[in-house]
């Protein structure tokens, strides 16, 4: 990977992380999560932010609105054998979005 590509990737990654953090902070600011830290890549949606399955659904809507893309294959990230995964970290979503937004493949 050349320097320019790496720089672009970093910017994309930073932009995606910033956008995701903005969504999450806005989403949970009135929730009674008991989470007092700052949301970051290592934050767990389920364990730290008390996300339930319906919250994930609403998060997907917010992400798709924010990044202007519909039909991202979120099931690859969120589902395991027909059920929601037990845990999901911010960094995993960022990695997923990096990959999918770059590939440009939507349904």
């Amino acid at each position: 990977m050349d320097e320019q590509a790496a720089s672009t990737d970093n910017n994309d990654s930073g932009r995606i992380l910033d956008g995701l953090l903005e969504i999450l902070e806005d989403m949970i600011k009135d929730w009674d999560t008991g989470f007092s830290g700052r949301i970051g890549p290592a934050t767990s949606l389920m364990n730290n932010l008390t996300f339930e399955s319906i919250d994930i659904v609403m998060l997907i809507v917010a992400i798709e609105e924010r990044f202007g893309r519909k039909g991202l294959p979120f099931e690859q990230l969120l589902m395991l054998d027909g059920h929601y995964v037990d845990d999901l970290k911010v960094s995993q979503i960022v990695q997923f979005l990096e990959r999918e937004l770059r590939s440009g493949t939507t349904a």
């Binding site: 806005d26 989403m27 399955s53 319906i54 919250d55 659904v57 039909g71 027909g82 349904a107």
Partner: protein
């Protein structure tokens, strides 16, 4: 032009309401019928909440507005998945946008598929939004804090929990009936309180709200609500108490209707409409089990057989994970849409048996949902003989009798209109749900867009008020023709011949 109040009663049917009016339990509704016009209201082909209310709010059929279910199925290469259908999936303007552009203000409460909220000229709280997301769902956002400060409003009681909703449509445990009914009585009152607050503190031209407890109660409690059915089994004290609570729900709903009508005042035209009707069902058709028997679908070895009475799997998206996709060519993902998706042209199969047993009609998506977005709908839509939902779960039989009669959607809903310029005490022929939007536009003094799929029901108006205002104007397009996705263009090019070939291969045509 007249201020206009639209009261949506989700799933309301005259089968139930006429009996309640006769028994004196819904005097306001009776007065409105006597002072105005009533008609049956034919729903969309699939009488399902998201597409039917969207049709009523846009004046367009599903093939044009693009909503076919609570979810949107994405056809991926390996296997499909689905996501929540949202307001950004609606491909035509709503009545709120249309009249907002002309300076009229709207109040929109509890309509489905309105999330994320669009910036209308007025106030909007979409339906089907969990409490934790309600603040982000309101337009304008400041409305949340404003409502939080009102003692009569409990924002936690406005939404319905998705999982509760899902369970109630399937099997509601006996011990949960009372709690379920009381919950919806409280919810309706909360929506009424919000409506009351906005109607009294904000200028408005169109005020609209959906009371959706009617649907929720009828799903779970049809056998307690239907007079004839209840007479056959309702001897126990528990059954009588459940029925009394149901009747109390309708009694209180009538009070809320009276409150809104009174607040709107005599110069306001009042419209009541339901997105679909309701009726009884005593059987379940397991469509995926049938598809498996015909060789079109394969279950994974560990796919469980569903408990009795279940039409859906528990947990989001689970149905898609019950199939062996390497051997599945046709499948149904959600019960409400009654839609079968075909992954390929399909191997030969015979639908004749199932069609004879339970299927009233099979429609291709071009027949069911004509329009530029029909490619987003399921390939085939089934109309069952009781108009009910299919079950997507695995079963040991294709058709099973329900232990208790349940309430299921029916295409014939209700329409009532009353107020200045509306005929008095008349029953007119059934209208289409697509005719309601032109009626609302006309009531508001606005021209009816040429692109609307319904017609202005002039027969509900006094002759002096029935004149079509000015010239009809084209509705603003949200998606220009050249924005039709490539997939749509490809599907259109595929042509009728291919579709017919698919049907023939599945045994629907000889």
């Amino acid at each position: 032009m007249s201020r206009t109040l639209l009261l949506g009663l989700d799933g309301a049917t005259f089968t139930v309401l006429d009996a309640l009016m006769e028994q004196g339990l819904m005097p306001t509704l009776r007065r409105l019928c006597e002072a105005g016009v009533r008609a049956g209201l034919q729903s969309t082909v699939t009488p399902l909440t998201p597409l039917a209310w969207t049709s009523l709010l846009t004046g367009r059929s599903p093939g044009h507005h693009g909503i076919f279910d609570f979810v949107r199925v994405e056809q991926l290469a390996y296997h499909p998945h689905f996501r929540l259908a949202t307001s950004s999936d609606i491909r035509c303007p709503t009545i709120y946008s249309l009249i907002g552009e002309r300076g009229l203000r709207s109040l929109s409460l509890n309509f489905p598929v309105m999330f994320p909220p669009q910036p209308i000229n007025g106030f909007m709280i979409p339906g089907f939004v969990p409490h934790r997301h309600l603040k982000r769902a309101m337009h304008p956002r400041s409305l949340y804090d404003r409502l939080s400060a009102i003692p009569e409003v409990s924002l936690k009681e406005l939404p319905v929990d998705f999982e509760d909703e899902r369970r109630s449509v399937q099997v509601l445990a006996p011990e949960r009936h009372e709690e379920w009914i009381r919950f919806h009585i409280r919810r309706e009152r909360q929506w009424s309180n919000v409506l009351h607050h906005l109607m009294t503190t904000e200028p408005w031209d169109l005020a609209s709200v959906v009371f959706d407890g009617v649907d929720k109660l009828q799903h779970a409690c049809w056998r307690f609500i239907d007079d004839g059915l209840f007479a056959t089994f309702g001897a126990s004290p528990w059954a009588r108490s459940v029925r009394e609570l149901c009747l109390d729900y309708f009694r209180q709903l009538d009070e809320l209707i009276a409150r809104a009508v009174e607040l709107a005042g005599p110069e306001t035209r009042v419209f009541l409409a339901s997105d679909h009707g309701f009726g009884p069902s005593d059987e379940i058709f397991y469509v995926n089990t049938w598809l498996a028997q015909q060789g079109h679908l394969a279950w994974k070895d560990d796919a469980p057989v569903a408990p009795e009475g279940y039409i859906n799997t528990e947990g989001m998206k689970a149905a898609a994970f019950l199939f062996d996709w390497s051997r599945t060519r046709a499948y149904t993902l959600t019960p409400g849409s009654n839609g079968i998706y075909l992954r390929t042209g399909g191997a030969a199969g015979r639908a004749q048996l199932a069609r004879q047993i339970v299927v009233r009609r099979v429609m291709t998506r071009e027949e069911a949902f004509p329009g530029p977005h029909s490619h987003l709908a399921a390939d085939l839509t089934l109309v069952l003989r009781d108009f009910g939902f299919v079950s997507v779960t695995r079963s040991e039989a294709i058709v099973r009798t329900r232990r208790d009669v349940a309430g299921v959607h029916n295409p014939r809903g209700i329409f009532i209109a009353a107020g200045p310029g509306i005929r008095r005490g008349e029953t007119v022929n059934d209208l289409s749900i697509l005719d309601v939007t032109p009626a609302l536009m006309h009531s508001l003094g606005e021209p009816v867009p040429q692109e609307f799929d319904g017609r202005l029901p002039v027969e509900i108006f006094e002759p002096a008020h029935a004149v079509r205002p000015a010239a009809a104007v084209p509705a603003r397009r949200i998606h220009a023709p050249d924005e039709v996705p490539a997939e749509a263009a490809a599907m259109a090019a595929e042509g009728e011949a291919t579709v017919m070939q698919r049907l023939r291969a599945l045994g629907y045509l000889e």
